[in-house]
């Protein structure tokens, strides 16, 4: 018997394994319990929460195990990249990024219902809908609009989008990516705004210089091609002509170190944080490149990549006299986060130049009726015959202090495509 009962300890071996397994589970629970719990219990738990836009329109709500979105499909689709969904398909939507605030978790009590689980957004869902309609379901692109005096983001649309409430909807390519925040694009001529800002501060006689363009220029034996022949032009005219020759020469004049310093200071190489939602960092050649490449980089080619949200920060700072009100998505009682982005004089001069662009070259009142617009176009050639259409700027209008960025991916000409869309957006924003 003794021999047999001694072998009974083989049962204790299994018991020991069970204890080890339970320990592993408890440690994992401590480590990941929060992620696990919030993954599904969002809509399943008894807690309630709601996302409402600046005009009190409900965009998404859940309570008692039920979850819903806005009533009509267009509103749902247009606002999808703001709300996200209950299943975390879009990682940047508020429903994904704000769970921990709308629904709490701690190891002791598990999931808990937050006291205030209603999130008021700065977004105007109707403006989003209009912007989405203007972009069209077939085009890829990003539309951003904010109030540069408060930082409140009124419009954020990314196309293609998807209806989160329609289980059978077939999402377009990249529909779960928010192009406003999570993507970077070749900037093309909108980048000249940054080169111009650096030149205003770093080249004392920039205003008295003249730039000669005969369609191309040679830097260290490499040709830089321009879109036209602009002949003799001032700095201001060069920006409105969007002259590649002039801005490539300016970039070389500034030198790579200065260019890198400005791109960095303006936050184009950083990841930003829109109320807890991370954005993508852009890029600029920071390792040494020769003058020809530097020239190309000064006009938004080379390895330049730009995040639309980062550009929105730039134009809204220019519009606000060099002071940046950090954009935000949530309407709360907190003061806007304000910082000096660039000297007031630089901002003022850029504003004049951007207004001159619109008045002298972009069709002024005819194309943008009733708008005191300051802007810059961009037609970023991608080398395959297509180009990204950019249009970025702001309204110099105390009643409508809006900064905006419009991008149509492989959309064609900056002014004709993105400019047209921007006009629709701004007219709608001013009308509201």
């Amino acid at each position: 018997m003794k021999k047999i009962t001694n072998r009974a300890f083989s049962v204790l071996l299994i018991a020991a394994l069970v204890i080890v397994g339970m320990t592993v589970y408890v440690l994992r629970y401590v480590d990941h319990g929060r992620d696990w719990a919030l993954y599904f219990s969002r809509a399943n738990s008894g807690s309630a929460g709601e996302l409402i836009d600046r005009n009190g329109i409900s965009l998404a709500a859940f309570s008692g195990g039920e979850s819903r979105f806005a009533g009509d499909a267009l509103t749902r689709t247009a606002n999808y990249h703001v709300t996200g969904d209950y299943w975390g398909r879009s990682s940047t939507g508020l429903l994904s990024s704000y769970w921990s605030e709308m629904q709490g978790f701690d190891l002791l009590t598990g999931t808990t219902q937050a006291e205030s689980s209603i999130l008021r957004l700065s977004i105007d869902s109707k403006l989003n809908t209009e912007a989405y309609e203007a972009l069209g379901a077939d085009r890829k692109g990003a539309v951003l609009l904010c109030d540069y005096t408060t930082g409140e983001l009124l419009c954020m649309v990314s196309g293609p989008s998807v209806d989160p409430a329609d289980a059978d909807a077939v999402p377009g390519e990249g529909a779960y990516i928010n192009r406003c925040l999570s993507s970077v694009f070749v900037p093309g001529s909108v980048f000249k705004l940054i080169t111009a800002a650096a030149a205003i501060e770093q080249i004392p006689d920039i205003e008295s210089r003249s730039f000669y363009c005969e369609g191309k220029t040679s830097i260290a034996g490499v040709d830089i091609i321009c879109s036209g022949e602009h002949y003799t032009q001032t700095f201001e005219q060069a920006l409105s002509n969007s002259c590649n020759v002039a801005f490539a020469q300016i970039a070389v004049l500034l030198g790579q170190d200065t260019m890198v310093r400005y791109v960095t200071e303006y936050g184009f190489l950083d990841k930003h944080d829109l109320d807890g939602i991370p954005t993508a960092a852009g890029s600029y050649p920071t390792e040494f490149v020769g003058d020809p490449e530097l020239g190309w980089s000064g006009i938004g080619q080379s390895t330049d990549m730009l995040n639309p949200y980062a550009l929105l920060r730039f134009v809204s700072a220019v519009g606000n006299g060099g002071v940046l009100c950090e954009p935000r998505l949530l309407l709360d009682d907190e003061e806007p986060e304000v910082s000096r982005y660039m000297p007031a004089e630089t901002a003022e001069r850029l504003k004049q130049m951007m207004n001159y662009n619109v008045v002298s070259h972009y069709g002024g009142e005819e194309r943008f009726p009733g708008l005191r617009l300051c802007a810059k176009t961009g037609t970023a050639e991608l080398g395959d015959g297509t180009s990204h259409a950019w249009f970025a700027g702001f309204l110099d209008d105390e009643k409508h202090p809006y900064a905006f960025v419009v991008l149509v991916e492989r959309g064609g000409g900056g002014l004709t495509v993105a400019g047209e869309l921007a006009n629709t957006l701004l007219q709608a924003a001013v009308r509201r």
Binding site: M1, K3, I4, V18, V26, F40, G64, D106, L108, G110
Partner: protein
């Protein structure tokens, strides 16, 4: 308060007061559940640990001046340190002879292939052994020993000197704790359940309470005081009742009936095990019945979600493999005389192989694995041969590899193991939801009936650990696992005093089965092991599973021979049936 109850009339203030009150009650009951769970477990564990090692004494063997007490019904005699009766004289083998007692009180001695031989009163003992009576002289390879039997009166006196079970920790008080635990569970359900389900739920818990107290009173009436195993089983059954009340309140009456039937069968089976001869005689019929059941299952069962382990039976479906589990242990355990006379395990290995292959054919790989682990434990305890175990593991490894390559859905489970969060809508569907729900309960749970996992398929069976964690909290979830662990420790401890190797092996095999099942259930749903879809002992919903769990408890009761502890063990001063006829004795002696 996330209750589903509708309030009508009465006015808002009244409702508000009620809600406040309900909230406070819920919070209090959550803490109470944890405290009472801990109390039940600690009391059972202490009761088991505080028992002293006091062997029973059945006879004596006097060798020279030394008198060796014979403390089991099956004893090895030899030079080995692990021999029960150690006789260290020249010529005696390590294990020289086996001395057994039947439950009628008849002793026999067997020569275990010794070199020196065994004689009783000068007559050589053959392979079939020879009967032994009080005063007989046993010659072990030249060493004489005198065998001294005990009279029932003497055994009664000896037994009286031992500590009785439940001496230090009162089982009644533990049962009071358990009853309070059940009332707290009931309270939580009352706060969350729909009005039309209230009566069934209340009936369920009250039936449980009634059942356990009836069992207790019945034990006291037959002068038994060991109630730890029943208490722990009732604790787990209460959790199972709670799970059933949350997930399938419409089927609760069936669950109540099955629980009562399970307890009744447990009592019957325990009583059956009292008689070792009867038990051993039924091993072959039991094996045949098990094989027949598996054959019927393989031939006629219906496929339900991959595995064809269900049989429809007049509107009731049941899982034959659950009952085969009990039969398997019943057949697999063996008395020691058999073990030493027939060293090979061939019959048992063949039986095991047929069972496991049949289960694999049915597609019930989880259960096949449980059988296999139990096979390892039984064959190790029977033979002590690491080589056999190693060979079996290698063979099973190959078979498993074959199964994985033949059945794609098993391979898929292995593939998704550890990566369940990468595919929460398909291969990781159940595990991710189980983990999320389990974590959202925190340490104290959302309250019985207030979880969301219960609406997901198989929540109350394969993912039951998550369901308990979600509704009752991680503390209760851990207590649920600990309860099975305490039962396992108890089985191992009881085995040491066991009268017969049969009871020791059966109790240990039963608990290794339960532990394996627990591990596969809990760790499978929590992505620590591949998801196999087996039930948690007692707690998972399912009638056949509950029946088999209670039946397995009878094996543990059979091994528990603390004084006056178990109804499944005869008191030391009672022998079964009639004393043998004089002719039998003569025939035996001839």
């Amino acid at each position: 308060m996330t209750g589903r109850r509708n309030f009508t009339g009465k006015g808002a203030r009244c409702t508000e007061n009620y809600l406040e009150f309900a909230k406070a009650m819920l919070a209090a009951s959550k803490f109470a559940l944890v405290l009472l769970s801990a109390a039940v477990l600690i009391r059972c564990l202490r009761s088991l640990l505080s028992e002293k090692l006091e062997p029973e004494i059945w006879a004596y063997l006097r060798v020279g001046r030394e008198t060796l007490p014979v403390s089991h019904w099956e004893n090895t005699v030899g030079q080995s340190r692990s021999a029960d009766l150690r006789v260290d004289r020249p010529g005696i083998g390590r294990v020289h002879a086996v001395l057994t007692r039947s439950d009628r009180g008849l002793w026999r001695i067997f020569d275990v292939f010794s070199k020196g031989g065994v004689w009783v009163n000068g007559v050589k003992v053959g392979e079939q052994g020879a009967p032994l009576e009080h005063g007989d002289v046993v010659n072990l390879a030249g060493t004489n020993a005198r065998f001294l039997d005990t009279t029932p009166e003497k055994r009664g006196n000896l037994a009286h000197a031992r500590t009785s079970a439940g001496h230090s920790i009162s089982p009644a008080l533990t049962l009071v704790d358990l009853t309070l635990f059940q009332l707290c569970l009931l309270l939580q359900h009352v706060l969350s359940a729909r009005r039309e389900e209230l009566s069934a739920i209340a009936l369920g818990f009250l039936t449980l309470i009634l059942l356990q107290w009836c069992c207790y009173v019945a034990m006291r009436l037959i002068n038994r005081s060991g109630f730890e195993v029943e208490t722990l089983a009732f604790y787990l059954t209460s959790l199972g009742m709670s799970v059933a009340a949350s997930s399938t309140p419409e089927d609760l009456y069936k669950q109540i009936l099955l629980t009562a039937a399970a307890v009744a069968l447990f009592l019957f089976f325990g009583w059956w095990l009292r008689n070792l001869r009867r038990t051993a005689l039924m091993r072959v019929p039991m094996a045949l019945a098990a094989l027949a059941l598996l054959a019927v299952n393989t031939a006629f069962s219906e496929a339900v979600f991959g595995a064809r382990n269900w049989l429809e039976f007049g509107g009731y479906s049941f899982q034959p493999s659950e009952l085969v589990k009990v039969a398997y242990i019943y057949v697999g355990a063996a008395t020691m005389d058999r073990l030493y006379r027939r060293k090979n395990l061939f019959g048992f290995i063949a039986f095991s192989a047929v069972c496991v292959i049949a289960l694999a054919l049915i597609g019930d790989f989880g259960t096949a694995l449980i059988f296999f682990i139990s096979f390892l434990v039984i064959s190790f305890m029977r033979s002590g041969s690491i080589a056999t175990v190693f060979l079996a593991v290698t063979g099973a490894g190959l078979a498993g590899f074959l199964a994985v390559s033949v059945r794609p859905y098993i391979a898929q489970r292995f593939a998704s193991w550890g990566h369940v969060w990468e595919d929460v809508y398909d291969t990781g569907y159940q595990q991710t939801r189980a983990m999320s729900a389990a974590a959202s309960g925190g340490l104290f749970g959302k309250g019985a009936g207030s979880g969301w996992l219960k609406d997901i398929f198989a929540a109350n069976t394969d993912m039951v650990f998550a369901m308990v964690c979600e509704e009752l909290g991680l503390f209760v979830g851990v207590c649920m696992v600990l309860a099975v662990l305490v039962l396992a420790f108890f089985a191992v401890r009881s085995a040491r005093h066991g009268r017969s190797a049969y009871y020791a092996i059966a109790a240990c095999a039963a608990m290794s089965m339960q532990l394996t099942q627990l591990a596969l259930n809990v760790f499978g749903s929590m992505d620590i092991l591949p998801f196999t879809g087996v039930t948690f002992p007692f707690v998972s919903r399912g009638g056949s599973s509950l029946l088999s769990c209670w039946l397995l408890m009878a094996f543990i009761k059979g091994a528990d021979n603390r004084r006056d502890a178990s109804f499944a063990v005869r008191p030391a001063d009672q022998d079964s049936g009639r004393r043998p006829e004089p002719e039998d004795r003569k025939a035996g002696r001839a």
